[in-house]
Subunit: 144 residues, 2 copies
């Protein structure tokens, strides 16, 4: 029941793009330095985000990435589902419900549905914009 590095890194990556959203594209190298994550691994993760249209890329020297929409338009759920795959605690209550021959008599199924709903309820109600404001709360503390 753990979120993998891929999902966590994707979140930090997107938050980094949201934070350093100046108009200039942000390079993998910069993100890598700030987030302490290997450039190559980041490339792999951002490629998924890129293909899904979550980010826009600029190729060549001085290239990099932007968010393609406003921070408020990305939920944590969107980002995690894209990179982690389904967040359902068991496959039979996932987005693509895997068939299970015990389905009719399956009692535990009800647990997984409840869990799935609880998880979705959290991640679908936090946006990148929320993360940004949490972040500024945190930095404010240090400024005082």
């Amino acid at each position: 029941m753990k979120i993998s590095t891929k999902g966590r890194y994707a979140l930090r990556l997107m938050l980094d793009l949201a934070t350093y959203n100046t108009g200039e594209p942000v390079s993998i190298k910069d993100i890598s330095k700030r987030q302490q994550i290997s450039e190559k691994y980041l490339e792999q993760i951002i490629s998924v985000l890129n293909k899904a249209g979550f980010v826009r890329s600029v190729r060549g020297a001085q290239g990099g990435y932007f968010l393609s929409r406003a921070p408020k338009d990305y939920t944590v759920g969107m980002i995690l589902r894209l990179t982690e795959g389904d967040l359902a605690p068991v496959s039979c209550v996932g987005m693509t419900d895997v068939e299970c021959d015990r389905i009719d008599s399956c009692v535990t199924n009800r647990i997984w549905k409840q869990l799935n709903d609880a998880i979705s309820n959290v991640v679908d109600n936090i946006t990148l914009d929320d993360l940004l404001s949490w972040q500024s709360e945190l930095t404010d503390q240090y400024v005082i």
Copy 2:
């Protein structure tokens, strides 16, 4: 973010014991047949439940297992945490909070805490007794 077979099997095992709670010990072999799970794998799982005192064993011929308490005294959370380990979505918000040097500036942390609470809230509020009544609802359907 998946619950492993170990946890799911442990739940079904415990529910099986609760269901076939006649006074006679229930053997691994019987559970295995009913639940379609290999005897040997069940042995391994029940050994954990046994060591934790969740079940009582009777050795030798005609031996088997009992629940050591009433179904209402087992939450799904207890069973899953024992067999799965911590249910926290990332280790830094788990029962034994693993140290993380980014902790002070960590924004995503807040997500994981919320997720953790949501998950706990579900699994800690469903007992084996609830599962038993769900089960009888289901079987009633077929009886009609």
